[in-house]
Each structure stands twice: as structure tokens, then as C-alpha cells.
């Protein structure tokens, strides 16, 4: 027979005004198994808690009920007190007779409140009888982090974690870290040179002894859970020994073959053995294998001949490396929507119709024109440039429905750069709305119009075509209500920002959610902006949606602080409200596995003594399970239960109704 104690709280007059707490206690004493009851003015006060502790000890109670306020208020308080008195904290249950009873039923005769309190407490008592003592789950934490993506968000996250004294592996797909920010010329609203503020950070990341750079590498597989991830990284063959290479650049000089530079977005060519840009970190070239005649046809090999330290190896192969980490920060960034989709703008056919990112390269002092604005077709300095905003953004028919957020600002910046570099040149901007919410952003846009003379036209462009060597832009100015035709020398499209190609695949490998645009989902859009539903995996930057540099950096730091908090203790304690599989009855239908929102359910092989697999069953990973119980209701063979909310407990409460 259980030994249960019931403590009914008067909460001053909050409960006692409409509930006869004494009567409730008396009624409860009649229930078999209840050996102690009392009512008290303030159970949560220190003397109240002392009463509770004493009663547990003196009466040797193995379970207690506190009928008081909402469990959201004081469940922790009373469980802690129970624990102090030597009782398993999960043998303490709360009945909510304040928010659910005395405060919402104003019957001064106390009849209504008393009946309901008796019912509710009775239900909790019967539930308590089925409780099992539970233990907090302790999970060991590996204090090493993995950051995926070496753009500004990833670099920031890695630097902050490293400065917090923890090791970080920074994985970057390209041969150099830097991301899209490395392509930018100046940055709004301060007009700092992007390279000038980014390069020191890149170098810092390379030199920080807590950071290991895995460039030219991709995450292939992720196993495990918070504190204990095992990640397989493909380290693509660079054909250059990173350890020995001194970065002298002799090989690139001597390489006789050139292809279009992806970093320069097709605006210039690079060698087949290359670093994407001069300030690359690490400053180690890679060989572009598909274009290398030596690798493809065993011809040439000039680079190997001139290489002093002899670090070129044409036979080098990809390596798979496994790393063990406790947390992962995903910062994979964005790309631009393919402009070719908008045939009316002539991108790809008219050479001088370019994307905003290409304009950044033209304006960048390290770009293909050395920072002079010259058109790609003939190198002429354009006398008039038309900027078209919202190409693909806010276009639910051919593009994406959302606003790409940064284009208003960078277009204003482009007009400024253009007016500073080309005196007498005229820029025109077709816009729908100017979205310049941000510190000093509105002033920046007004500056472009008022000081730098950009002509802003409110309207969209219908069509762009070539005529007699000019580009004709056919648009509308809705403010004057007229059609507008402009003869331009160059057209710049502010193309929509979209998620990275393959973002969905990575999300599936990581077990994190993404929206229909393949942007990653934060756990909560307001209160948990850098967490994901998978514990231990955090987000930063524009892999979540279009974002500018200040926001990306802030998020990188935010994700890093989450990682450092996780790493602050050797073990992580979690509520033991998790699901549990009955391996005997589980028939491996995997309904639980498909239902689980957290990928907490794994397949476990049951083996005989010889090690042959006899059958499969589901297993719940306590490190991942969040205790929602969806799997329990999904299980047809009733083989899963949820600790703390077992079928037995719930049915006992219903039966006591």
C-alpha cells in the first residue's frame, strides 16, 4: 500500500475564499493509500516547505500531492523540497486548484470550488499511485564544436567559440574561407571596404590555435546527438600537400591553362591551379581537376615542375575524416537565384546586364577591373546604369514570395559607388518599396538620392533589350503614371537571395527543419532564433533567410554563446520525461520513427549469441527525445510509453474522474 501525503494550500485567501481547503483535506484522507493530509496557509513559504519535508520524513511518505497553484508556478519548488526530504522528486505531483478552480469559480459558498478541488486532487492521487521514481538524464558533452560554412557568420561563430577556450573545426566547401562577403566591395551603411574588415578576421581564424580549418571539405554524414555528434567530413583532394605548401604562387604563375573564375562570377579567368582570390585563407592553391590536362590526359604538369617544396601530387584522392564534436553550428549562407529565369531582362544574352554580385566585383579594388566600373562587353565606362530591384523577390509567379531584405541597401550602395567612381554618370533605380529599416539605413538611402544623385523611379521594369549598342530599359514610373524608356549602358539586377543548392540535403543529414524555400527553421522565430529543433545544432547567418552582415555576425556570436553555455559543464542534465520502448512487444513497424519530430527514434538490432541479427526494434535516444509523446500515440502495438505521462498514469487519472 502506498503512503501518500496530501497538502492543500490556502494561498492566503486566494484559494480559501472559494474552496473549503479543510474539507478537501478531510475528503482526501478517506482515499485508500492516503496516510497524511493537511491544509496550510502558504505551502510555498519556507515554513510551508518545512511542514512538507517534516511530514514526508515523519510519516515515511512515498509520494505527495500539493494541491495549490499551477504546476508552471511551483512544481519545481515542491519537487526540490521533496528531494531534500529524501523523496524522489518525480513522486511529487501538483494539483492546480487555484488557476483552475478558486480563481475562475467565484462561488462564495465554496460549494463549487470544493467539489472541483476534491475531484482534481483525487484524480492526481490515483495518478500518483502509478508514478515511478525517475532520474534526471545526464549526458556527457564533448567540448569541441563543428562550424559548417566559412562565411562571415561561420567565421564569427568559430572565433567566439575559440576565444571561449574551446576547440572548433571550421568546414568550408570552397578552397578559401570568406564566403560571399569576400566578394563585396564596400559595405553599407558605413562604406568600409569589405576585404579590409574581413581579411583580418580570416587570418585570425587561421592563426587561432583552437580553430582547425577544413577548407575544400564537405559534411557527408552526421550521427549522434547533443554533446556526442560523430561527423564524417569529405576532404576533397586539393592535389597540393597543405603541410608542405608555402603559398609562394609559383605554380599558378606557370600554369598555362585558364578557365572562367567562379569567384569572379565569370567576369574574369583564373588558372587551373588556383586560389579563388589573392587574400585567400589558407593561401594554398588547389587544382581544378576536371579542367587540368595533367590529371585528365597526363599532359603538362608544369606546376609540379616549378614547385620548390614538391608538394603537388596528381594522384591525391579525397579523404573521409571522422570528427567527434559536442555541438554543430550551421552557417552555410545563400546564393543568388539564377537570373536566366527572367528572359525579359536578357541576362546571359545581353553581356552588360549583370547581377548585383557581379557589380560588387566590378567595384572592388581587387576585382577584375581593379575597381573601375567598366562594362563587361567592351570595357567602356558606362555613362548610365539602370538598377532593377526585386528581380525574383516578391514575385510569387516566377520567383519567390519573400523580400530579399538586403537589395534595397546594396542597390543604394551601388549607386553611391558608381557616382563616386564615374563622375557625370547617371544611375537610375527601379524600385517598388524602399526597405531601409536599420541603424543609419534610411539616411544612407536618402544620401544616395540627395547627395549622389541617383534617380529613383517607383515601378518595375517590364523588359530589357538591345538596340544599336544601347540597352533599352522599358519600365514604368507609377508616381508620375507614365511609361519610362531609358537608354542605358549597363543594367544591374538585384536578384533574389535564395538558399544554397543542396541546403535540403544537408538539413536531412543534420535532422533539422527547413521551409519551402529550403531556408533552415529556427526553433522559435522570436525566442530561440539560433537554435534548431535538434538539440545541439545551432544556426547562424543567411542559411535561415536573407540577412545582412551585421545580423549574420550577431547570429554567429549568438550561436557561439549557446555552444559555450552547453560546454560550460561536463555533463548536461535533462528532464527524464522521455519515451521508452518495450523491446519485447515492438514489432518494428517504424510508425514511431516517422512520427517523431526529433529523429530521436533509432533502429536497434537484436542479436543472438552468435551475433546474428534476429530482429529489429525501435530505441529511443534519451539525448534527443524531447518528451512530446507523439510516438506513444502512434504506436499500434502499445510498445512505447512516455515516462512521467505513462498510459497507466493517464488512465488512472481518467478512472478517478
Amino acid at each position: 500500500m502506498p503512503r501518500i501525503g496530501v497538502f492543500v494550500c490556502q494561498c492566503g485567501n486566494n484559494i480559501a475564499a472559494t474552496v473549503d481547503t479543510k474539507k478537501v483535506a478531510e475528503e482526501m484522507a478517506k482515499i485508500p493509500g492516503v496516510v497524511y493530509t493537511c491544509d496550510y496557509k502558504f505551502m510555498c513559504s519556507s515554513p510551508g516547505q518545512e511542514t512538507l519535508k517534516q511530514a514526508i520524513k515523519e510519516n515515511n511518505l512515498d509520494g505527495i500531492i500539493v494541491s495549490a497553484c499551477s504546476p508552471h508556478m511551483h512544481e519545481k519548488t515542491f519537487r526540490k523540497a521533496s528531494e531534500a526530504a529524501g523523496l524522489n522528486p518525480y513522486q511529487c505531483e501538483i494539483t492546480n486548484i487555484r488557476e483552475q478552480c478558486s480563481w475562475v469559480h467565484h462561488d462564495k459558498t465554496k460549494a463549487t470550488g470544493t467539489v472541483k478541488s476534491v475531484d482534481l486532487t483525487r484524480m492526481t492521487i490515483q495518478r500518483l499511485k502509478k508514478n515511478q521514481p525517475l532520474k534526471k538524464i545526464k549526458i556527457p558533452v564533448k567540448k569541441k564544436a563543428l562550424v559548417i560554412g566559412g562565411g562571415i557568420a561561420g567565421i564569427q561563430a568559430a572565433l567566439d567559440i575559440a576565444e571561449g577556450g574551446r576547440e572548433v573545426i571550421l568546414v568550408e566547401k570552397e578552397p578559401s574561407i570568406g564566403g560571399n562577403m569576400a566578394r563585396l566591395s564596400e559595405t553599407f551603411p558605413t562604406m568600409d571596404c569589405s576585404q579590409c574588415i574581413l581579411t583580418p578576421k580570416m587570418v585570425e581564424a587561421e592563426l587561432n590555435e583552437n580553430i582547425t580549418l577544413y577548407t575544400y571539405s564537405e559534411v557527408e554524414k552526421v550521427d549522434g546527438y547533443i554533446g556526442n555528434f560523430t561527423v564524417t567530413v569529405r576532404r576533397k583532394s586539393k592535389y597540393v600537400d597543405e603541410e608542405r605548401c608555402t603559398g609562394c604562387g609559383e605554380c599558378m604563375e606557370k600554369c598555362p591553362f585558364k578557365v572562367e573564375s567562379a569567384f569572379e562570377l565569370g567576369l574574369s579567368k583564373r588558372k587551373v591551379i588556383y586560389t579563388p582570390f589573392p587574400q585567400a585563407v589558407p593561401n594554398i592553391p588547389v587544382i581544378d581537376a576536371p579542367n587540368c590536362p595533367k590529371i585528365q590526359k597526363d599532359k603538362c604538369g608544369a606546376c609540379a615542375i616549378v614547385c620548390g617544396p614538391k608538394c603537388i601530387d596528381f594522384k591525391m584522392e579525397d579523404r573521409l575524416e571522422t570528427v567527434e564534436v559536442g555541438a554543430i553550428v550551421v552557417a552555410t549562407g545563400y546564393q543568388l537565384m539564377p537570373n536566366e529565369r527572367f528572359g525579359e531582362y536578357g541576362y546571359g544574352r545581353i553581356k552588360d546586364v549583370i547581377s548585383g554580385l557581379q557589380f560588387e566585383r566590378l567595384a572592388s579594388s581587387s576585382g577584375p577591373t581593379g575597381g573601375e566600373i567598366r562594362r563587361p562587353s567592351d570595357g567602356k565606362v558606362p555613362e548610365s546604369v539602370v538598377f532593377i530591384q526585386c528581380v525574383g523577390s516578391r514575385d510569387e509567379k516566377k520567383g519567390v514570395s519573400y523580400c530579399s531584405k538586403i537589395c534595397c541597401m546594396y542597390t543604394a550602395k551601388h549607386t553611391k559607388l558608381y557616382s563616386h567612381k564615374v563622375h557625370g554618370g547617371q544611375s537610375y533605380v527601379f524600385y517598388m518599396d524602399i526597405r531601409s529599416g536599420g541603424k543609419r539605413y534610411e539616411e544612407f538611402v536618402r544620401g544616395a538620392i540627395e547627395h549622389d544623385g541617383a534617380m529613383y523611379l517607383r515601378g518595375r521594369v517590364s523588359r530589357v533589350y538591345e538596340k544599336n549598342g544601347k540597352i533599352i530599359v522599358q519600365g514604368a514610373d507609377t508616381l508620375s503614371g507614365s511609361q519610362v524608356e531609358i537608354e542605358a549602358d549597363m543594367v544591374v539586377l538585384a536578384t533574389a537571395i535564395v538558399s544554397r543548392e543542396g541546403a535540403d540535403g544537408l538539413a536531412q543529414r543534420l535532422g533539422i527543419g527547413y521551409d519551402k524555400h529550403r531556408f533552415y527553421n529556427e526553433y522559435h522565430p522570436k525566442l530561440k532564433p539560433v537554435e534548431t529543433v535538434t538539440a545541439g545544432i545551432y544556426l547562424a547567418g543567411s542559411c535561415m533567410g536573407p540577412m545582412d552582415i551585421p545580423d549574420s555576425v550577431a547570429q554567429g556570436s549568438a550561436a557561439a554563446s549557446k555552444v559555450l553555455a552547453l560546454f560550460s559543464a561536463d555533463e548536461m542534465a535533462r528532464e527524464p520525461i522521455t519515451a521508452l520502448v518495450n523491446k519485447v512487444t515492438c514489432n518494428a513497424c517504424w510508425d514511431c520513427l516517422t512520427a517523431c519530430p526529433y529523429t530521436a527514434i533509432e533502429r536497434e538490432a537484436i542479436k543472438d549469441r552468435k551475433g546474428n541479427i534476429v530482429r529489429w526494434v525501435a530505441r529511443v535516444n534519451d539525448g534527443v527525445c524531447q518528451g512530446c509523446g507523439v510516438c506513444v500515440a502512434a504506436c499500434r502495438s502499445k510498445s512505447i510509453d512516455l515516462k512521467g505521462y505513462t498510459d497507466e498514469q493517464v488512465f488512472a487519472a481518467i478512472n478517478a474522474f
Binding site: I31, V104, V115
Partner: protein, 157 residues
């Protein structure tokens, strides 16, 4: 086991039938919404008894049948709004299961007006109050639900 305080009194005989409503709610949205109704000192019909679960996705259809067996005249299920689930998708599972379960309940002869499914967020105290009043009044109008109560007694015997 649960014979306490006028429990065995036949409700109809007393002349003023007061229905018993069982509510299964999720911990994060509706339970918190009901708490807010309390802290705001709103008033609603006293006929409802709440059972808290982590998520509506945890609700086994059997819970509802059991509630009817144990004398509930009406049952209410309420959780987070679609898209707001604390567990991301738990309430979608609940909704899907609910759709299938509804036809089974109809087949089993339960008047669907005795069963309510709703979304109440943590800030919707007023919605919670209105919901309880509405459900109570509707079930009251339908009269007591006796069919499943016999089932339980025979089972116990």
C-alpha cells in the same frame, strides 16, 4: 474506486443536470491559456476537469473512450494552434489522428456534439473561457451520456 461526494447520484433525477466535461490539453499552449484565465480572474462553468499532457500528439483515442466510460458527458481536446506546436509537429499528428478517429466515434454511436477539438494558445484566456462555456452549455442541452457508463460497471463486475 472513485465513489466520492455525491458521485453516485443520478444527475437526471436531481432535476438540474450538470454535465461533466473532461478536457485533455497540452502543457504549453492550452494549459497555459487556462492558467491565464485564472490569473485574470475570469469566470467560467465549473464542469470541466483538466488532464494535462505534454502535447496533444500524446493523446491516445482510448483516453477519450475511457473518459466517456467514466462518466464524462462531453470531452474536449485542445492544444497549440497549427504551426505553433512546442514540439514542432505534434499537433499535426493529433489533428490527423483526430480526423480518422472522428468517423470511428460516429460509428461507435457517440454524438459528435459531445466531442470538441480546439486550438487555444497561451494568450487566449478569453477563448478558453468561451470554449468551456460553449461546450458545457451544448453538452448540457444534449443531456447525460449514459450508454458507455453501463459498459464500465459490467466490466468491473
Amino acid at each position: 474506486m472513485s465513489a466520492h461526494l455525491d458521485k453516485d447520484e443520478t444527475p437526471v433525477a436531481s432535476g438540474s443536470f450538470e454535465p461533466k466535461i473532461m478536457a485533455f490539453v497540452c502543457n504549453w499552449c492550452t494549459y497555459a491559456g487556462a492558467d491565464l484565465a485564472g490569473t485574470s480572474r475570469m469566470e467560467y462553468r465549473p464542469n470541466v476537469r483538466i488532464i494535462k499532457l505534454p502535447c496533444t500528439g500524446r493523446i491516445d483515442p482510448l483516453f477519450i473512450l475511457k473518459a466517456f466510460e467514466n462518466g464524462a458527458d462531453g470531452v474536449l481536446v485542445s492544444g497549440c494552434h497549427p504551426g505553433d506546436c512546442h514540439y514542432t509537429t505534434g499537433n499535426y499528428h493529433a489533428r490527423r489522428r483526430w480526423i480518422g478517429f472522428k468517423s470511428l466515434m460516429e460509428f461507435a454511436g457517440i454524438d459528435m456534439r459531445r466531442l470538441h477539438f480546439s486550438w487555444v494558445s497561451a494568450s487566449e484566456a478569453i477563448k478558453w473561457v468561451d470554449l468551456i462555456n460553449k461546450v458545457t452549455d451544448e453538452v448540457k442541452a444534449l443531456g447525460p451520456f449514459m450508454e458507455y457508463r453501463g459498459l464500465k460497471e459490467t466490466e468491473l463486475e
